[in-house]
Symmetry: C2
Subunit: 500 residues, 2 copies
């Protein structure tokens, strides 16, 4: 085969796999948003079958050889080489898994989601425990085929954030805890601002109108390339540059929950939308790592979305939609309330300062689950104990406790730490952006797109072209160091709570 | 291969094809409801690819041989034999089409939908004409591979309604016109009831609330197995017994448009839901013919949905949702208005009496398009002339004229006649149902499900197990004859308009 023929074969293979990937993505979005639940068994079995077909293509020995031959040739651009190396890495992770086992795992994931969803509605960890055990067992088995010398959990961490492992995360969380635990205690001892007006009755319908008529247009989340739906657990997914989907959930006793989750999810969506369109349909079109993805979404949510300038643009409009609830609340009082810090139960609702403390709860449980003697027996008790330890809160039920997050229901162990790491990445990006832009002026004047363009230029456009540490270096001129994040939180909350 | 092995191979093939079919269905529903339009090119190309993969499986020579061997064996139940014969018939229709041509046609269909949708928004037939020509040309070519001695249009008619052809439809429409044209004229000359209150301002939001809180529950369209979304052109689709999707469209100047379209589409959905679940994933799970499908949807819409008993249950609730608009309108006045007959522009909004006259307009245009000298040049003019001839109305624009219906945008020529035929089937089913049930009492007391159960027992459960004429005979004890339908219309409208 000539080089051109090999390249063509590679392109054809990419197109075919991207077609299956697209089908699986759309089936998944459909399942998580609107698909009638009683049809799940029928659909899930077929989704698993199609995933198996994709698996066969992704582990095709002919394609493995094609990768080797292409990489051995000297006719590749650096981007082509990078792309093939990434595909090859993915292939090596799954190459030795028996197809039937892979298909069974997909079916298990589909089933586990429904079990988790019902268990959460019923607030019963006991309902979820058996399937969680199945997931853990299946994951252990799937990783066993890799024959890595690394522990299973280190491999999981590396899958979501290449280069990370328990040692590095332990060091990171140690620093975080050292600085934040005393800060959180000081804040807890200080007088709290009034937040009660955020929790009056806010009809979901009116929240939705505000989101669609004001918030999404302000965020530039355009109907031509983006669509927001509703779901139990907000998420973002995409098929290509011009097809990014987000979801949200309206809580009638919390006017800002859906707003911040919308800003968060559209932050993911902007990342997907702004990757170089030449990468559409390729592995290069994905975000480079989970922490990098969360750095973008939490950047939008917190560094931009919780700033006064952001709300100078939007708060008068929010008051128009909720005149009875907010008509007499000043912008200053509103800003104090949306930035108030108070240990709480639910990660996605947590304030910026206590948020990172939700992560070690999950991280340490995951470490335990995949350690020698780990077991999911009575894991709710361990959860509740750790929540008490790190956040000082009593967990009243599983719904707001161990069942709050969707991740484990799909076997995604090792993801959570990237939320904290991503938040920390974000602080460094924020510092760099402020050197180039008058961020407050952009937000105040409705030029949110200008901030997104900065992210596009420095981060989004690259997709998977460069790894996360390199992007950090290119975007900020520095390696990652968590002090920027911890300094930012200290400065912000010292000021907000007049701690000095 | 033993018989058992052959049967297993057949089951595996069915499962695999049903997985692709499901993916294609969900991708299509997604496209027609929520998918961001700018992503269409990316998605459509991949959908076409997956359709091509399904096409390869459906035309696999090994499977063709399997069908022959199974049919030659004497170990099949009658149901198994019927099922394989149906698959074989489908296969024979496409067997000689080159795969690339099939894939191109799928891509054309996807593109044509978007062109039609934009052309309709812009009310410009000129925008749609070129792609309509491509569709006609492509369809002609696809049918040429069948090597049938029948004309292309007769084959199309037979595809949607096995056994039907131009000769039979001509005879049917002649009878319809003979009886209905004079009746429509008499009605037009009679004093018209007031319908103005139907066209006050009815906010879409409130309509949606009524639909979701009152109408869908009354119709028994349960969230566990059904989901209704919104779209430009209402449709129903399904993946299995417990996954039926409908759509509707709320018009703010017409309070009943979406209601009757909802009753119509959920009529299709009940058919899909009530097929014997043993047929899930098989060709047997589909409706037996288009007219039979439309007979069910139009049955629900008209024979049930436009009856006084139906509204005795629902009208007081509708008044509660729209007290300003309907508070002072009596049930009697409302019933007269929703049954008022007046020639109009849009088929889906037409009353029961003038509705069938919309069909020859389309049927005769399709006959012309696929005749020797047919051409889509200036087809809007032909449309407008025929609307004038059959309904006496002047068409003011293409949006309410030739571009109103979605069907041609996917190359579905030959479908329209089944609407009229299905309406006529419905009258015969209605007469039979009334012998067994006190239909009015069922509707009045909220037992809509009892009527659906009658349809399930006599029609739905069979799926494609028996052909339409046999089902008609089993359900009503008679062959189909259109007089029952024409008598029904004559009696209903003579009474409504005091014509005697």
């Amino acid at each position: 085969m000539t080089l051109e023929e090999m390249k063509q074969k590679f392109q054809d293979w990419k197109f075919a796999t991207s077609a299956y990937q697209m089908a699986i993505t759309i089936i998944s979005i459909d399942k998580l948003t609107v698909a009638p639940p009683a049809g799940a068994a029928y659909r899930d079995a077929r989704e698993a079958y199609l995933s198996g077909e994709l698996f066969s293509m992704e582990t095709d020995p002919e394609i493995a050889e094609l990768f080797r031959n292409l990489l051995a040739s000297d006719g590749l651009t650096q981007t082509e080489r990078r792309e093939i190396e990434l595909y090859q890495k993915e292939m090596n992770h799954i190459l030795s898994i028996p197809k039937q086992e892979y298909v069974s795992f997909r079916a298990l994931q589909n089933r586990a989601y429904d079990v988790w969803h019902q268990a959460k509605l019923d607030s019963s960890y006991a309902q979820f425990e058996p399937v969680l055990k199945e997931l853990i067992e299946a994951k252990r088995r799937l990783y066993s085929y890799r024959n890595s010398s690394e522990s299973v959990y280190n491999q999981m961490l590396d899958d979501f954030e290449p280069g990370m492992n328990m040692e590095k995360y332990d060091a990171f969380f140690t620093k975080v805890k050292e600085r934040l635990v005393p800060l959180i205690q000081k804040v807890a001892a200080a007088p709290q601002p009034d937040t009660s007006f955020l929790h009056l009755h806010y009809p979901a319908e009116t929240q939705k109108k505000f989101t669609e008529e004001v918030l999404l247009p302000y965020l530039g989340f355009d109907h031509s390339w983006g669509y927001q739906n509703e779901t139990e657990h907000p998420f973002t997914d995409f098929t290509c540059e011009n097809d990014c989907r987000t979801t949200t959930k309206y809580l009638e006793d919390n006017v800002v929950s859906s707003i911040f989750s919308t800003i968060h999810e559209t932050g993911h969506a902007w990342y997907m939308h702004d990757v170089d369109p030449a990468y559409d349909g390729s592995i290069l079109s994905f975000g480079i790592s989970s922490a990098m993805h969360e750095s973008q979404s939490r950047f939008c949510e917190n560094y931009l979305g919780r700033s006064t300038a952001f709300w100078e643009a939007l708060y008068p409009k929010l008051q128009e939609y909720f005149p009875e609830q907010l008509g007499n609340v000043s912008l200053d009082a509103f800003m104090k309330a949306v930035n108030a810090s108070m240990p709480s139960l639910v990660r996605t609702e947590a304030d910026e300062l206590t948020y990172p403390m939700h992560i070690p709860v999950r991280y340490e449980i995951e470490k335990y689950l995949f350690a020698e003697n780990g077991s999911a027996d009575h894991l709710d008790e361990l959860w509740n104990a750790k929540m008490k330890e790190y956040l000082g809160v009593e967990v009243p039920n599983d719904r707001e406790g161990i069942l709050q997050d969707v991740h484990w229901s799909s076997g995604d162990f090792g993801y959570f730490p990237t939320y904290a790491l991503g938040s920390a990445f974000g602080a460094q990006f924020f510092a760099a952006m402020k050197k180039d832009l008058d961020v407050d002026e952009c937000l105040r004047s409705g030029n949110y797109r200008t901030c997104m363009n900065w992210l596009k230029t420095h981060i989004h456009q690259y997709g998977c072209r460069y790894d996360a540490p390199k992007i950090m270096k290119m975007a900020t001129g520095e390696e990652f160091h968590p002090e920027v994040y911890l300094d930012y939180l200290e400065e912000k909350y010292t000021k907000l709570y007049n701690l000095e």
